[in-house]
Amino acid sequence: MSVTQVPMPPTPKWGMVIDLDRCTGCQSCVVACQAENNIPINTEEAYLQRRAIEWIRVERYWEGEFPNIKARYIPVPCMHCSDAPCEPVCPVFATYHTNEGINMQIYNRCIGTRYCSVNCHWHVRFFNFWQPKWPASLENQLNPDVTVRTRGVMEKCTFCIQRVNHAEQNARLDNNRAVRDGEVNTACAQACPTRAIVFGNMNDPQSVVSRAIAGTDRGYQVLADLGTNPSVLYLKKLDPDAPAQSGA
């Protein structure tokens, strides 16, 4: 048997751009992620205990005072930090970086120290304090491509790794080509009705996500000064009432 060396396609770097000027806080992304990723049902108790799990969550911040008050929304998934502080603190490599820029979580390796969550400053790591449960009929909805987590493990946004892997596998089978822009999309970006979220390969200058950030001066990273270089980039919210040189 002879083996032919097939050239590998260039490695992608997955990234996301979230335009805060488009986002309306509708939380379609939140439910889409829950449906795609078998996220445990957030019961009233989960909220009362402040342990609700939303891999992407929409936070609402106030500014000002009635009647000159504004409510602002920001959707927050995992930032997939290029130098992720959650990774080196995990004693068992249950969270690690893929060479495609995704901060991964291996559920069955996690021993539940919660150190990664303590050292994630975007608060996007969620611990299964209880055993997640679904009524029998709702189990029919669970996505067979995503592991159902058990109690005692950490979970978080994976950039819908199952979708990425699937697209990459298809591309590999198709003459080992690179994944084309638009062939893979995350559940949150897919659902977003204002198209505030864009996902794709940051290494490809022609991808929608690269162009979304290249063509603007509004880009920023949340908590950029921590130096973790998040792969989730935000586009600043615009407001005609903003002070002349605010933001920055």
Partner: protein, 457 residues
């Protein structure tokens, strides 16, 4: 200066072995009470393992709480052992003799207790056992040595191993004494433990040398252990936690709480075992003087840590500092830290009269540890609840009943282990006392009174 008490050797042996052979009523009461608390502890742990960490008060972002605080506390207590035994042995402080065993054994048991907490805190400790020890060699996946959570157990286990060795070596002559005076299963046990120690010169020499060597090695571990424990926090990017000063600060705090715990233990032993002629006021006096220095050094580091945050004026730190200083319950804990941890005990210890009063020493030492437990909570918990500018996520943490039970239980666990130990082995080193007596012996050489024995070490 050490006052000299001359007691006949057989009386020393009889007195010091009494707890091993005789169980007083108080002893039984202690067993029953501790056993009761321990049952609650086991139940609480079982409950948590069955249902999950959900039974605690932990939440997002407060992922670490009572159990981690308690871990730090007991690691701190463990620092008394080396401080008393190793340092005082190396510096040949005579007053150490009756105190060493209790300090070392407490080190051993508090380390064991401390280690159970991070494991329990994961909620499924068996997974740690499964994934960390027979690790995934097949796929070449190793623990990540960059994680403080790998360094930390390594350091603590090294310390525990060293301590056990150290305790063992210092106990060999006592095992021999016990072996020679016991029958039945006890004889068998002591015979094995005594390793054929017959009091030959070579054996004494080896025992002394290994004791000194271990003491010297332990000294470096001693500094590293609590430094590394502090890195569990200081390695992170969390505001107020990621502070370089935490390593020495934690070490000195550990000594403060550990040595105070030894005072508590000495007073208890004095009452429980009637060791009045061995644990004498001058011992409390000496430890009290040590504590004045240690306590003040600790207070200095405490202030430094606060000043560093105030000096930097980083808004994310200041938010937490504000909570620590002005918000309930941290303001109460702060009062405990200052009043109990320092401003009541240390001024009292300045007076020789009080240092020699066992009751005063007992209660002040208890106070220090109330203050020091509060300090650990004050340092650890607020660091998570207002992390960075996510005011949308800011949430406080309140421990659940299970956690409180586990914490109370940890005290019972250490207490029970100490009590069981005292039923098997003498809590004051018999040979050390005898050696002290011999060293104290004096002879007349011409006009001078000189020690009867010349030391080699």
């Amino acid at each position: 200066m050490q006052e000299r008490h001359h007691l006949p050797e057989d009386q020393i042996i009889r007195d010091l072995l009494r707890p091993v052979v005789y169980t007083s009523t108080m002893n039984w009461v202690a067993f029953i009470v501790l056993g009761g608390v321990l049952t609650a502890f086991v139940f609480a742990a079982g409950w948590m393992f069955y249902w999950g960490v959900g039974v605690t008060g932990l939440n997002r972002p407060n992922m670490w709480g009572f159990m981690i605080v308690n871990f730090v506390f007991w690691i701190g207590i463990s620092h008394a052992g080396v401080m008393i035994s190793a340092i005082l042995r190396l510096t040949q402080a005579e007053w150490r003799r009756p105190v060493t065993r209790a300090a070392e054994v407490m080190t051993m048991f508090s380390l064991m207790t401390a280690m159970t907490f991070p494991f329990m805190h994961t909620g499924r400790p068996w997974r740690t056992a499964y994934f960390v020890f027979p690790y995934d060699f097949w796929r070449g996946i190793w623990p990540d040595v960059r994680s403080a959570l790998v360094m930390d157990p390594s350091a603590v286990f090294t310390y525990l191993t060293g301590t056990i060795l150290f305790v063992f070596v210092t106990m060999i002559p006592d095992f021999a004494i016990l072996r020679d005076r016991s029958t039945g299963w006890r004889h068998g046990l002591y015979r094995v433990l005594a390793l054929g120690f017959r009091g030959q010169e070579r054996q004494w020499k080896m025992q002394t040398i290994s004791g000194f060597l271990l003491a010297a090695i332990m000294l470096s571990i001693f500094v590293s252990v609590h430094s590394i424990v502090s890195w569990d926090f200081a390695f992170s990017l969390d505001p107020v936690w990621h502070s370089t000063v935490w390593a020495p600060y934690f070490v000195i705090g550990a000594v403060h709480s550990g040595v105070s715990a030894v005072v508590t233990l000495m007073a208890l032993m004095r009452w429980l075992f009637k060791f009045d002629s061995y644990l004498r006021p001058e011992h409390f006096d000496a430890i009290g003087r040590l504590l004045v220095v240690v306590g003040s050094a600790w207070m200095w580091f405490f202030m430094l840590d606060v000043f560093f945050d105030l000096f930097r004026q980083d808004p994310v730190d200041l938010v937490i500092m504000n909570t620590r200083f002005f918000a309930w319950p941290y303001v109460l804990l702060l009062a405990f830290i200052f009043i109990f941890g320092y401003f009541i005990p240390v001024p009292i210890w300045l007076f020789r009269r009080f240092r020699r009063n066992i009751k005063v020493m007992f209660w002040t030492s208890i106070m220090v540890n109330v203050g020091m437990w509060s300090e650990r909570y004050w340092l650890v918990v607020p660091g998570l609840q207002q992390k960075y500018q996510w005011s949308f996520d800011w949430t406080s943490y309140r421990p659940g009943p299970i956690e409180v039970t586990l914490i109370i239980g940890s005290f019972a666990l250490v207490g029970t282990l100490l009590l069981v130990f005292s039923k098997l082995f003498p809590p004051i080193p018999v040979w050390d006392e005898l050696e002290g007596q011999r060293f104290a012996g004096e002879i007349q050489v011409g006009k001078r009174t000189v020690p009867a024995i010349v030391r080699e070490f």
